[in-house]
Amino acid sequence: MTARRIVLGVAGVILLAVAWELYKALAPADGLVIGGLTVLPRTSDAAMPHLWTMLGRALEPVSGAAGSPLLVVATLQAAAFSLGVAGVGLLVGVVVGVGLAMLMQRFRTAESALLPWIVLSQTVPLIAIAPLVKRWGATLHTESFRWEDWMSVAVIASYLAFFPVAIGALRGFEAPDAAHRDLFRSYGVGWWRSFVRLRLPASVPYLVPALRLAAANAVVGTVVAEVSIGLNGGIGRMIIVFGQSGSADPAKQWSPIAGAVLIGLVAAGVIVLLGTVLRRYRRAEVTA
């Protein structure tokens, strides 16, 4: 089963590569233009470099300057940096999301008061909140603490990540059926111990998919927020900078794009791993 899935996964990647090269080989160089509208993309080397050109470029130095690191090394460094920021963002998002869900589960009025705002929060475009976060953060300066740009990026990532967690956790915390709630009431234990022993474990089947979404959101949020905030060192900024040198060095920008994909894969992999660790909590509920 696992072997089959691995083979299928590899086959999917190969298929994509073949499709890319086939299209490049067969489609007209200027793309398909109908009535002045480009319906299919251009296949010139500037628009669609060969896969091996991209790979080859990745193994060359970033620039002609002396001591410039290999493109692949620089990309991996940037990816690691962005992954770290996204990880912080995800962590904050999970804490906030689970905290809000606990509050809403505990107090019915909190649910009525908070839930509409939580949903509404996601309709605010990221671009709009980025400068706000940066400005508010700047007011947090003290002697020993300096608000850094990467913190702003992490906050924005957490802003996107907390939402699925809050919604999923709330559903999960309310998943135990009446018989289980009665049982815990009969044990005469308080809210907290019922929460730890019943609601929290029962929420895992809802939390794991929510975390998968949250991780993806955190990665996308980080990459985009890096651009909005103007944070250097991460993959988001790299995509923009290399993109600007597009016509001169078209293969270059594909390295950071691959890096962004890599971050997403690592983040998703971590959640899969977490789901495996928690598998005993994901056994199907069986009724007698």
Binding site: D177, A179, H180, D182, L183, F184, R185, S186, Y187, G188, V189, R193, R197, L198, P201, A202, V204, R280, Y281, R282, R283, A284, E285, V286, T287, A288
Partner: protein, 266 residues
């Protein structure tokens, strides 16, 4: 020693916007220590409601419910009763042993004492080798046995059971009844047992409380004289006294009017 359960002048109404439903009206009942009492009656007669009042999962509208001379709430907080429902209600992420030990863990019993009690209970319900299985690996009857063991974990002197065998097939059901009789003989706990089945009530009970619906009332209490719990064995099901008990309960259920043969004989 005070009675296990004393219900005095209890009324229970459920009020919704549209109407008020009288679930229980003027109910008086006393269950002696170690006594097995079944509540039987058609749907809507309030038998489950009465059980929930005793368990303090609901509060009576008026009247009092005492358990071992204390308020029902105090008895709940003191863990004076164990409870089992129609659905086994095991936590799917816990093994059989962990499910049985759940109330002990919640009440901070030391791990070693917990383990010893778990072993005892696993032996009592005959699932000694299944301690490390998960509920979804067990049949319905086995799950229900685990639920009963969990109810017995803190050695309560009172067991409250709401149609615990209602979802089981007939053969499993009879075996579970025999098993429950044996467990009661072993533990000497009083039992309040809600059921739909006349033979089940007669087979297990010292007294059968027959209830009628709308409003929920106690119509009649039928004493069953089949001997102590240790005498409730398979052979009893063929006994003339057993059939007499079944007839008596059935007549009480149908308000004393003679009924045709072949009534629900589950």
């Amino acid at each position: 020693m005070s009675a296990a359960v004393t219900v005095t002048g209890v009324n229970k109404t459920f009020a919704s916007k549209k109407q008020t439903t009288i679930a229980l009206e003027a109910v008086d009942l006393e269950v002696a220590a170690g006594e097995f009492v079944s509540l039987i009656g058609p749907s809507g007669c309030g038998k489950s409601t009465l059980l929930r009042l005793i368990a303090d999962l609901d509060a009576p509208t008026s009247g009092t419910v005492q358990v071992f001379g204390k308020s029902a709430k105090q008895a709940r907080l003191d863990q004076d009763y164990g409870i089992a429902f129609q659905q086994a209600g095991l936590l799917p992420w816990r093994t059989v042993r962990e499910n049985i030990e759940l109330p002990l863990q919640l009440h901070r019993v030391a791990a070693s004492a917990r383990r010893a009690r778990g072993d005892e209970l696993l032996a009592l319900i005959g699932l000694g080798e299944f301690g490390d299985r998960y509920p979804d690996q067990l049949s319905g009857g086995m799950q229900q046995r685990v639920a009963i063991a969990r109810a017995l974990a803190e050695s309560p002197k009172l067991l409250l059971m709401d149609e615990p065998f209602g979802a089981l097939d007939e053969m499993t059901r009879e075996r579970m009844q025999t098993e429950l009789a044996r467990i009661c003989a072993d533990t000497g706990a009083a039992v309040v047992f809600v059921t739909h089945s006349i033979p089940e009530a007669v087979f297990l009970s010292d007294r059968v409380v027959v209830m009628s619906p709308r409003p929920g009332r106690i119509r009649e209490i039928v004493p069953i004289t089949l001997g102590g719990a240790q005498e409730r064995t398979e052979g009893l099901r063929e006994d003339a006294a057993f059939f007499a008990g079944v007839s008596a309960v059935r007549e009480a259920l149908h308000g004393g009017t003679p009924t045709a043969l072949g009534v629900d004989n589950r």
